[in-house]
C-alpha cells in the first residue's frame, strides 16, 4: 500500500535542522525543535508498525530515475521497521539526555551539534526505510558526512585526527558500496530489496558474485568488523550522547543492517549457501567477536572499552545473519534493538559519570556506585544484559543465536556455538570488573574532593533517559513485543524463509 508516512518521518529531522539554525541564539527553542522532531518521527515510524504486522508492505516511490528500474523511494518492511523503531525511539531519549549533558558541560558549538545530529538520524532512519540500494546509499553517505562534525566536536588536534581516520575508513567504504551497487544494477537490472535475494544474481558467475559480496562487505565498513574497526574506538572522542546514539546505534547499526540486507535481500540466502560465502562472513564475525572482546579487556578508558564491546556485539548480528537459519536470523534481528537499548544505557552512564565526576578511566571509578547509585544500577543491568544473563533482553537474542548455531548442525555450527558462548563469557570478564570497582572498591582520596560543588548524581535530564533505557532493557525481556519488535522480527523471518 502507498502511504506518505515514511517521507514525513524522514522530513521531521530535516525540518528540525532547518529550524535549528535560525534559532541558534535561543537555546530553549532550539532544543524544543529537536525534541518535537524526535517525538514526531518516533510516532510516525511507530504508526506504521501495526500495518506491517498485519502483513502490509508500505511502499512510496518518490521519483523514477533516468535509469531503468531504479527509483528513489521507500519500502517499509518488517526488518526495516525494526531498525527504524530502534533508531527513532532512542533519538527521543538521547535528545533529552543531550540537553542535560551539553548544558552541564557548557559545550561549545551546540547549534552545530544539534544540526548535525538531526541529519545523522535522518540518514539512519532513511537507511532503514529505503526501498533499494541506491536510496540506501544516499542516506548512507548522509550519515557519514553529517557525523563528522559530531566526531570532531572537541576540535582538538586529537579529535581532528580521529575525524580524519573516521573519514579515511568510511569514505572509501562508500566508494566500495557504490561499486557494489552499480555492479548489482549492471548484473541484475534492479537494486530493489527482495526477500530471499535478487533472482538475476543467481545467473551471474560465482566469481562475480563473490567480488560483489566483498565489495558490499567493505562497503559496510560501518559495521566495524575486524580488521576494519579501528575508526570506531577513535571516534569515541566525540561527546557521550554522540557515541551513544551514533556509535552504538545509528552509524554502526546502519552498517550491520546493510549486511543483513545484503545477505537476506540482495544476494539471498540460497546463493550465500551455495557459494560458501556464509562461512567467510561467519568466520569474520566469529573472529571479531572473540578478538574484540580481548581488546576490550585491556582498555582502561570506559568509552573505549564500550567501543570494543560494540565491535564484538555487532558481530553477533553479522554472525546471526551469516548462519542463515531461521533462529539465528531472528536472533540477529532482535539483537539490533536489544543491543541498541543496552549499549546506549552503558554509553549514557559513561557520559553521566563524566558529567558528575569528570572521570573517564575505569581505574578511577572506585566507589562511584555509592555516589551515583542510580547510574551504576542502570549500568549493571545493561552490562548483565550484554553478557546474556536473564532477566535482561540480551538473553533472548543470544538464546536465538545459540539455537540458530545449533540448527546449522554441521561441525561449523558447533564451532560458532562455542564462539558465541566464549564471547559471552568474555563479556562477563570485561564488564564485571567495572561493576565490582564501582560498588565494592574503596574510593580513592580525590573522589570526595573533586570539583567545587559536589555533585552526587548527574542532573535529572541526564539520569532519567538512562534509567528509562535500562528499564526498557528489562521490559524487552519480559515483553519482547514492546513496540511490536517481536512480531516484526517474526514477520521478517517468515518473509525470508516462508511459512509462519
Amino acid at each position: 500500500m502507498e502511504l506518505m508516512t515514511p517521507l514525513f518521518a524522514i522530513l521531521c529531522p530535516a525540518i528540525a535542522a532547518a529550524l535549528i539554525l535560525p534559532s541558534r541564539n535561543h537555546p530553549n527553542i532550539r532544543e524544543a525543535w529537536t525534541i518535537a522532531a524526535s517525538l514526531a518521527m518516533f510516532l510516525l515510524v511507530l504508526s506504521m508498525a501495526p500495518l506491517i504486522v498485519k502483513g502490509e508492505t508500505i511502499k512510496l516511490i518518490l521519483f523514477q530515475s533516468m535509469f531503468k528500474d531504479i527509483y528513489i523511494g521507500f519500502k517499509v518492511d518488517a526488518f526495516g521497521e525494526i531498525f527504524a523503531i530502534t533508531a527513532s525511539s532512542l533519538w527521543v531519549l538521547v535528545s533529552i539526555y543531550s540537553i542535560g549533558y551539553m548544558r552541564t558541560l557548557k559545550e561549545h558549538a551546540q547549534t552545530r551539534y544539534y544540526f548535525s545530529f538531526c541529519f545523522a538520524i535522518m540518514g539512519a532512519v532513511g537507511v532503514a526505510l529505503s526501498a533499494n540500494l541506491v536510496t540506501l546509499f544516499i542516506f548512507f553517505e548522509i550519515i557519514t558526512v553529517s557525523t563528522y562534525p559530531l566526531v570532531i566536536h572537541e576540535q582538538t588536534p586529537e579529535a581532528l585526527r580521529a575525524g580524519h581516520k573516521y573519514l579515511a575508513y568510511l569514505m572509501p567504504a562508500g566508494a566500495f558500496l557504490l561499486f557494489g551497487i552499480m555492479i548489482t544494477y549492471y548484473l541484475a537490472g534492479t537494486t530493489d530489496f527482495t526477500p530471499s535475494g535478487i533472482r538475476q544474481l543467481a545467473d551471474a558467475s560465482p566469481l562475480v558474485v563473490t567480488v560483489l559480496f566483498f565489495a558490499f562487505l567493505l562497503g559496510f565498513m560501518k559495521a566495524a568488523w575486524m580488521p576494519f574497526h579501528s575508526w570506531l574506538p577513535s571516534a569515541m572522542i566525540a561527546p557521550s550522547p554522540v557515541s551513544a546514539l551514533l556509535h552504538a546505534v545509528a552509524v554502526v547499526k546502519a552498517g550491520v543492517f546493510g549486511i543483513v540486507r545484503i545477505v537476506g535481500y540482495v544476494i539471498g540466502m540460497d546463493l550465500m549457501q551455495e557459494l560458501g560465502l556464509w562461512l567467510i562472513l561467519a568466520g569474520i564475525a566469529g573472529f571479531t567477536m572473540i578478538v574484540a572482546s580481548f581488546f576490550a579487556i585491556t582498555q582502561d578508558n570506559l568509552k573505549r572499552r564500550l567501543a570494543y564491546s560494540t565491535i564484538s556485539q555487532l558481530s553477533y548480528i553479522i554472525l546471526g545473519a551469516a548462519l542463515l537459519t531461521r533462529d539465528s536470523m531472528q536472533g540477529a534481528m532482535l539483537h539490533i534493538p536489544f543491543h541498541g537499548y543496552m549499549k546506549i544505557t552503558l554509553f549514557l552512564c559513561a557520559g553521566a559519570i563524566l558529567v558528575a565526576t569528570g572521570k573517564t578511566r575505569i581505574s578511577e571509578m572506585a566507589g562511584i556506585g555509592k555516589r551515583m547509585p542510580l547510574t551504576m544500577l542502570a549500568f549493571s543491568i545493561a552490562a548483565i544484559g550484554m553478557a546474556g544473563i536473564p532477566p535482561v533482553c540480551g538473553f533472548i537474542s543470544k538464546l536465538y543465536l545459540c539455537l540458530g548455531a545449533w540448527a546449522v548442525g554441521s561441525p561449523y555450527g558447533m564451532i560458532f556455538l562455542a564462539v558465541i558462548l566464549i564471547s559471552s563469557l568474555l563479556d562477563i570478564v570485561y564488564f564485571f570488573p567495572i561493576i565490582l570497582t564501582a560498588f565494592f572498591k574503596k574510593p580513592a582520596e580525590d573522589i570526595s574532593v573533586f570539583g567545587e560543588e559536589k555533585m552526587k548524581e548527574a542532573p535529572p535530564l541526564v539520569v532519567v533517559p538512562l534509567t528509562i533505557t535500562a528499564i526498557f532493557s528489562l521490559i524487552f525481556f519480559i515483553y519482547p513485543n514492546m513496540f511490536y519488535i517481536y512480531d516484526l522480527a517474526k514477520m521478517a523471518i517468515s518473509e525470508l524463509f516462508g511459512g509462519v
Partner: protein, 506 residues
C-alpha cells in the same frame, strides 16, 4: 519561418553590437556598461529559453545567414545540445556579471571598469558564437574573439597575471593555429566548411591522410584550449592570478564551450565510425581522461593556494567530461555524463571560484592554511563553499553525485571497468583536498579569535551582489543534484542523444 529561429543570430549579433555600444556609453557614464550588459544578457537568457523550448518541441533550428544556402553561406545550427549549452553559458555570464559588480571594485582599477565590461561582453559574444555556429571557419572566428578577450581580461589584474596571460597567449595561439591549420587541411580535401556538408562528404575520404591529419590538429588544438592534461600547463597560473570573476567564468563556461567544439568535431563533423575504426581514438581518449582525472587531483592535493587548487581540480574535472566523451561511442550514458557534468561542473566550480574571490576580498586570504575560523566570519560563503565542495566530491543529493553515477554506469555499460575504479578513486582524492579546506574553515581551532561577534565587527562585509550569486549557485548544486536523480531531464537527454547519435535513445 518561426520567429524563434532568428533568436540564435539575434543573441550573437546583439552581443557584438552591444559590446561596442557599451564602450560609447562608458564615456557618458562609467556605470552604464554594467547595467546595459546585465539587461541585455538577461534578455538573451529569455531568448535562449525560447530556443531550448523550440528545439525540444520541433527539432533543430537551421538558420542561413543572409539567406545564402549552406555550402556557400554561413549556417547556424542549434540542436538540443547547444541550446542546452547556450542556456548554461548565458546564465553563468549573468551570474558572473552580478558577482563582478562587487568584485571588480576591489580587484581592478576604476579607470579600467568600462573596458572590463566591454571585454566581458565580447568574450560572452564569442562563447555564444561558438555555441550556435554550424560552420568550421565561423567557429574559428568566435574562438579567436573568445580567446583574445580572455587574454586581455586575465591581464587586467596586472602583476603576476601579466605573465600568466602571456603564457596563455602563446599556448592559446598555438591551439588556435592548430585548429585553423586542421580546418585548412580538411577544407583542401572537401572544399566545404559547413558541418552538415562535411559530415556527408567526409566518409568518402576517411582514408585520406590529409583528413586524418586535419582531424588530429583540430583535436590537439582544441584540447590545449580546454586544458586537457598534459596540455593544461598554462591554466593553473591563469586561474590563480586572473580576477576572480574571470576565473569563475572561465572555469565554469569558457572551457565548456571549448570542449563543446571537440564534441561537435566528434559527432557533427566526423562520425563515430571515423573515430573508432579509422583512428581508434575512443579508448585512447578514455585513458587520457583517466590520467587527467587522477593527475589533476593529485596536483590539487599539493597546492596551498586556494585558487590554484581549484585550478588543478578543474583539470581533473575536465577529465570527467572527456571520459564521458570517450565512452560515448560505446554507451549512450557517456553522453549523459558529458551533458550532466558540463552543467554540474559549471555551477560547482563557478561557485567555488566565486567563494575564493570573496574570501580573498573580505579577509585577504589566499593560502588554505590561513583559513582558520573562517566559517564564523563568513558563514554564507563558507556554507556555499562546503556545498559546492561536496558536489565536487560527489556526495549524494549534490549535483556531482549524478555525474559520477552516470559516468560509472557508462563505464560499466561500455565494459570498460578500470574507469569505474578511476572515478571512485578520484572522488576520494577530491575528498582529500576539499575536506582540508572545510576542516580549516570550520573545525581547526584558531588561536586568537575566539569571539565570533568581535570578529564580525572588524571584517568588512561583502556586498549582496557577491553573496547572492554564490548562494544561488550553491543551492543549484543541491537542486540539480535532486533533479538529475529524477527522470525530469529525460526528454532533454533523449533529444541530445537523438540529435548527436542519430536515433539511439535511452
Amino acid at each position: 519561418m518561426d520567429l524563434v529561429e532568428h533568436f540564435p543570430v539575434l543573441i550573437v549579433g546583439l552581443s557584438m553590437f552591444l559590446a561596442y555600444t557599451m564602450l560609447l556609453a562608458g564615456y557618458l557614464n562609467r556605470r552604464l556598461p554594467f547595467f546595459m550588459s546585465l539587461a541585455m544578457n538577461s534578455f538573451f537568457l529569455i531568448l535562449s529559453l525560447f530556443i531550448l523550448n523550440h528545439v525540444l518541441a520541433t527539432g533543430p533550428i537551421r538558420y542561413w545567414q543572409g539567406g545564402w544556402r549552406p555550402p556557400w553561406g554561413i549556417e547556424y545550427v542549434v540542436d538540443a545540445m547547444n541550446a542546452y549549452l547556450l542556456v548554461i553559458v548565458i546564465s553563468m555570464v549573468i551570474l558572473g556579471l552580478i558577482y563582478s559588480r562587487g568584485n571588480v571594485r576591489h580587484e581592478i582599477e576604476e579607470r579600467k571598469h568600462v573596458t572590463f565590461y566591454v571585454l566581458v561582453q565580447l568574450m560572452a559574444a564569442g562563447m555564444y558564437g561558438i555555441t550556435v555556429t554550424g560552420d568550421l571557419f565561423n567557429m574559428f572566428i568566435w574562438l579567436e574573439i573568445a580567446s583574445l578577450t580572455a587574454y586581455a581580461l586575465i591581464a587586467v589584474a596586472g602583476g603576476r597575471a601579466l605573465r600568466s596571460a602571456y603564457n596563455y597567449v602563446i599556448m592559446g595561439s598555438i591551439g588556435a593555429c592548430l585548429y585553423i591549420f586542421g580546418v585548412c587541411w580538411i577544407y583542401s580535401v572537401t572544399g566545404t566548411l559547413n558541418f552538415a556538408d562535411m559530415r556527408l562528404l567526409l566518409p568518402l575520404v576517411y582514408d585520406n591522410r590529409a583528413v586524418q591529419m586535419g582531424f588530429a590538429m583540430i583535436v590537439v588544438g582544441v584540447m590545449i584550449k580546454a586544458y586537457i592534461f598534459p596540455l593544461h600547463l598554462w591554466q593553473p597560473d591563469v586561474y590563480t592570478y586572473a580576477p576572480s570573476t574571470i576565473s569563475s567564468m572561465m572555469a565554469s563556461v569558457h572551457v565548456k564551450v571549448m570542449f563543446y567544439m571537440l564534441l561537435r568535431m566528434f559527432y557533427s563533423v566526423f562520425t563515430l565510425d571515423f573515430i573508432r575504426h579509422y583512428i581508434g581514438l575512443d579508448l585512447l581518449i578514455c585513458w587520457v581522461a583517466a590520467i587527467a582525472i587522477l593527475a589533476g587531483s593529485i596536483w590539487a592535493i599539493k597546492q596551498r593556494n586556494l585558487k590554484r587548487m581549484l585550478a588543478y581540480s578543474s583539470v581533473s574535472q575536465m577529465g570527467y567530461i572527456l571520459l564521458g566523451l570517450g565512452l560515448s561511442p560505446l554507451s549512450p550514458w557517456g553522453l549523459v555524463g558529458v551533458a550532466a557534468h558540463i552543467l554540474n561542473h559549471a555551477i560547482g566550480k563557478g561557485c567555488l571560484f566565486m567563494c575564493a574571490g570573496a574570501i580573498s576580498q573580505q579577509e585577504g586570504l589566499r593560502d588554505i592554511r590561513d583559513f582558520e575560523g573562517l566559517g564564523k566570519k563568513m558563514p554564507h560563503v563558507c556554507a556555499a563553499f562546503t556545498i559546492a565542495a561536496l558536489s565536487m566530491i560527489g556526495i549524494p543529493l549534490t549535483a556531482g553525485f549524478a555525474s559520477k553515477l552516470f559516468l560509472i554506469v557508462a563505464s560499466l555499460d561500455a565494459a570498460q571497468y578500470p574507469f569505474v575504479a578511476v572515478l571512485l578513486l578520484s572522488g576520494l582524492l577530491n575528498l582529500v583536498y576539499f575536506w582540508r579546506v572545510i576542516d580549516q574553515m570550520y573545525f581547526v581551532k584558531h588561536k586568537g579569535t575566539e569571539n565570533a561577534a568581535e570578529v564580525r565587527e572588524t571584517g568588512k562585509s561583502l556586498p549582496l551582489s557577491m553573496v547572492a550569486p554564490i548562494l544561488i549557485l550553491a543551492s543549484l548544486c543541491i537542486i540539480m543534484g535532486i533533479i538529475w536523480l529524477t527522470n525530469i531531464p529525460m526528454p532533454l537527454i533523449n533529444h541530445i542523444l537523438s540529435n548527436l547519435r542519430m536515433g539511439v535513445t535511452l
